[in-house]
Symmetry: C2
Subunit: 188 residues, 2 copies
């Protein structure tokens, strides 16, 4: 199918946006991954840091190398803190998240990126693995042109207050409530 002529828009003023993706439904991390893909299409350099996710294989692990050299990817942590199947103590989760937030700080101020994605940071804040002043400091340090994307349930009101765009993803229904196990490609 032949592509029609495309209109390429450019804002009068370029601006980095703070985007929060929260809520209990499916689509927060995948939406962030979609922004990563889109940013790479624009030739932007992206740093993706995942909190509490270093224990499980997900498809993005094998897909993101295809976006080299534009995307730097850091999986950190040891899975979701506080869920039944997770064997690690709170202190270990907190230490991992503290390392991740130091890494986020370094990447945000480095000047090397056009977009930084902090996947599950809202959740890490809610679980007290990181502290509100630490997250607000990242927002304060953000260069004017850097897009900063923060995902995870239970986003803090002060973080949402500071964002340009906030979406709440509400679960209307989910396959796992029908007894269907997580499926590759969609759920991980």
């Amino acid at each position: 199918m032949a592509l029609p002529v495309l209109q390429k828009t450019e804002p009068r003023e370029r601006l980095g946006l703070v985007v929060v993706i929260t809520g209990n439904g499916k689509g927060k991390t995948t939406s962030a991954l979609g922004m990563v893909l889109r940013a790479v299409g624009h030739g932007m350099r992206v740093c993706l840091i995942q909190f509490m996710k270093g224990d499980m294989y997900t498809g993005e692990i094998d897909a993101i190398p295809r976006l080299a050299p534009f995307v730097e990817f850091h999986m950190t942590g040891k899975g979701f803190c506080g869920i039944r199947a997770n064997p690690y103590p709170f202190e270990e989760h907190r230490a991992n998240a503290q390392d991740a937030i130091a890494l986020a700080r370094e990447k945000i101020v480095s000047g090397e990126f056009d977009m930084v994605v902090l996947d599950e940071i809202n959740n890490a804040l809610k679980l007290e693995l990181v502290d509100l002043p630490q997250v607000l400091e990242l927002l304060n340090l953000r260069p004017h042109l850097l897009h900063l994307v923060l995902t995870g349930r239970d986003a803090h009101p002060e973080v949402m207050e500071r964002a340009h765009t906030v979406s709440e993803i509400r679960e209307v229904k989910h396959a796992y409530r029908q007894g269907i196990e997580p499926q590759p490609g969609v759920d991980y």
Copy 2:
């Protein structure tokens, strides 16, 4: 940062899922793009068909070729039907969407894909560019193992009824309501 040992899960039964991403907030198309990226990581073959989108440049146009040969991408249509800036008559939008739904049908039954994404089809249905029986037919024709992702506002109740997973993305706030023009990497 060294990656920890990853647990690779596999469901006892593989199943294709019908996923609907709807609502008025930012993140529907990007969530679908994230699923495309994730599916490619699993080595899956994906067909992405965008309805009502052939008029504007978006980052995915330059990013998706990096996912070759796993992703087939079709932009169809001439932009959003009914919005003020769009010059094309309803009949032309409908003819384009009818071509797109015929293409979707062909790709769904072809056996060549593990995931088919119909971006903005919910919206196309709401705007009567396609008809409910046509969309329900696609759901009926879907092979058992095919993931079918349908995005766009105002998803039809009968389509949501037939889906395994439905997420509604609610706009809490959006940059454009603060007078900020769409920004590359995030908004397109």
